[in-house]
């Protein structure tokens, strides 16, 4: 260390000891033998594991020696939990979308890629008067910048980006326009189409209801 700190400052590099070029090294032979030994070790180990199907798991056992490459696209590393993948529209218990067509997401969207056409429930439906439903819900995946603002904005936990999948490459632009049916068909990483957050339907005892309005 004392050598590194010299008077007058300036950058002093760390001294790397030069390897000794002994006679043995200069004859080239023992070093070649060592190199061959390393090479054979890798070759035999990896070939054996390939042939016997003993390759280590490329994700779980990635720190072990051996072949750790992922054979994309047959094998894919799952995206981490915080990854924002394709959108999906979550379902209610009866299979209809949780979305109430409040337009929060399309308002929040900086890329303006969400288009929603709200519609009223028919006369006599329990939900009429409480909420609306999206007659059309379209996301242009080419415009989307995957910022996740729509998920943040949604008050009903109706739109999520937890599918863990990236958009499939298509060969024309119109194929990137995902409509309501497609978005509702996508599943979350856990395989479910619902969310864990409870939903209070009109008529449920837990539903705050419109009666509350009368009290004020």
């Amino acid at each position: 260390m004392s050598e590194a700190v010299r008077k007058g400052g300036g950058i002093v590099g760390k001294k790397v000891p030069r390897p000794d070029r002994t006679m043995l090294i200069q004859t080239y032979v023992p070093e070649t033998a060592k190199g061959m030994a390393v090479l054979m070790k890798h070759f035999f180990k990896n070939t054996k594991e390939m042939v016997f199907g003993q390759r280590n798991d490329p994700v779980l056992e990635a720190l072990d020696d051996g072949i750790n490459t992922i054979s994309y696209p047959e094998q894919q590393r799952p995206y981490p939990l915080r990854n924002r993948g394709l959108h999906r529209l979550t379902h209610r218990e009866d299979g209809s979308p949780r979305c109430v067509a409040c337009l929060c997401c399309s308002t929040a969207c900086p890329a303006q890629c969400i288009y929603i056409e709200p519609a009223e429930y028919p006369e006599g439906d329990k939900r009429r008067g409480y909420e609306r439903y999206p007659a059309k819900f379209v996301i242009d995946e080419l415009r989307c910048i995957f910022c996740g603002f729509c998920v943040e904005a949604c008050p009903c936990d109706a739109i999520r980006m937890d599918t863990g999948e990236h958009p499939v490459p298509y060969d024309s632009r119109d194929q990137f326009i995902y409509d309501k049916d497609l978005l509702m068909a996508l599943k979350g990483r856990d395989g479910s189409q619902k969310t864990r957050n409870p939903r209070h339907e009109p008529g449920d005892p837990t539903h705050p209801g419109i009666t509350r309005l009368g009290k004020h």
Partner: protein
Amino acid sequence: MSLVDLIASFIKIAVLIGFCLGVGGALTWNDRRMSSMIQDRVGPNRARFLIPAWAARAMFAAPALLIGGAVAAWGVLWREIPSTAFANARANERIVITFELAVLFLWIGLAMLTAWSVRRGPANALEEFLAKTVKDPRKVFYAGVVVHVAVFVLPIVMRGSALAKQLKPQLFWIGPVTLGLVVAAMGLVGAAKVPSEGFKLRLIGLLHTMADGLKMIWKEDFVPKHGDKILHSVAPMIALFPPLVVLAVIPFGDVLCFATDPTGKILISKVLSMVPREGVCAEGAIPMQVASLDVGILFIFAIAGTGVLGAAIGGWASDNKYSLLGALRAAGQMVSYEITLGLTLVGLFMIYGTLRPENMVWWQGQNAWGIFVQPVAFFLFFIAAIAETKRIPFDLPEGESEIVGYFTEYSSMKFGMFFFAEYIEVVTSSAIMVTLFLGGWNLPFLHRDGITVQIGDTVLFHYGMSHLMVVIISVIAFFTKVLAFAWVQVVIRWTLPRFRYDQLMKLCWRALLPLSLVNILVTGVVLLVIQNTSVTVRSALDAAGDLTQVVVAVAMIAGGVAAVRWLLSPVRRQPVVLSTSAEMVARMGRTITRPMQA
């Protein structure tokens, strides 16, 4: 030349060329496989056949049932031991070999079954036993080795006893029947283990090499506009020709002796049962060698020397200055290293006292392998031979991607022929090295009359074997040695970086050439000293020669045991869950492999 000789020559040529082309292809594959295996990646492995389950089951079961049935039928139909003395000796061999093979297949099958049932769970009582009680396939292997030794030793111990006389006629047919049953059972178990969706035959990427070879044939055959069209086409043939021709004088097995009729014609159906250890066949002999020449080794050098013409003409006919420069580099390098190649052998000639490859092999079988009597020459010859094949670290003539080489203007199968010639040269040069230095077709202590372990004049162990069996083993030994040595050359190719051209020339003229001259001098002096010493010293040298055989034999057996032990050793893995990705994979069990779409 009689008709028998002619047919035998054709068969020998076909065997040699078939071996060369097959191994050449396998080396191409091995070269690429190694490039990926040493870097811990999968490598070219996409080409594959999907074999449906029924076909895969048939592939396992049908040959096993056929072969097993045939072997068992052979045992049952020829169950009487003929009364001649020869036949009696061969009956012993049939019993021992069938039982040894049965034991071999049995432990291999049981070890595989153990590994399978430990990994995938047992399906029946036997697998339950293997998975729960045996657990480690290595235990099966050790038991197998013990039984192997027992089967070999028991007949020797029991020779001459009343029990042996009583058992022998029974064992004579039980042996083949047991072997047949084991083979059939292995096939059936294998068929039962085929997954119901069939399996993908990839042959660890071998199919990929085949696909590449096919591609090469269909590619455009380009000839430069102002190039010499005839020479451009002839050059790859000249490059491919010498390494194949050189093999003509290489003996790839011991002489096969036949009985003859009174006129001296060979009776092809009558192979001699036993031959004495020393001397040549008294009657008709077919050597395992295409041409037996007096000049032997000199023929190899004369033909191999023309190999440089292929590269030189190819570079010249391409009408490309850089190709021409590459060709000149090739010519300079090959001519330089040929001098070392020739001079290293002078010491061998002095010791062997012959130019005939078959006599050299014979000498090595009687005394010690060339690598022990001329280690320096072996080392120098090895380096020079790698330089002759123009492969890394001496691949300046071609330098596929960096330096423009002599076959730049070649495409399609003409390029393929240059490329393939290189691999065949590897096979040929390892065949020459095996012949000169590694004992050719010799195995330690295996002589014409069987196994004789002998140190100096004391015979420790003798085991008689029939002539045909010895010849078959010697042929297998030769080809196995060549394969192993060719593989070592591929290892060297992946270990070393390329030399600079001046380093290349310095290595040849300033290091290898003086060393080979010194080697000649030292060999001559040592030979003179030995010739003028007492008998005790010479008999001590004889014993030392036998000791080298012991060393080789022990190394081979220990290596084999260690290899199988390593193959069967279980893998220990340490799953590390450090990311949410890994968590998800852990929840699924392991990373899912889906079939590729489209």
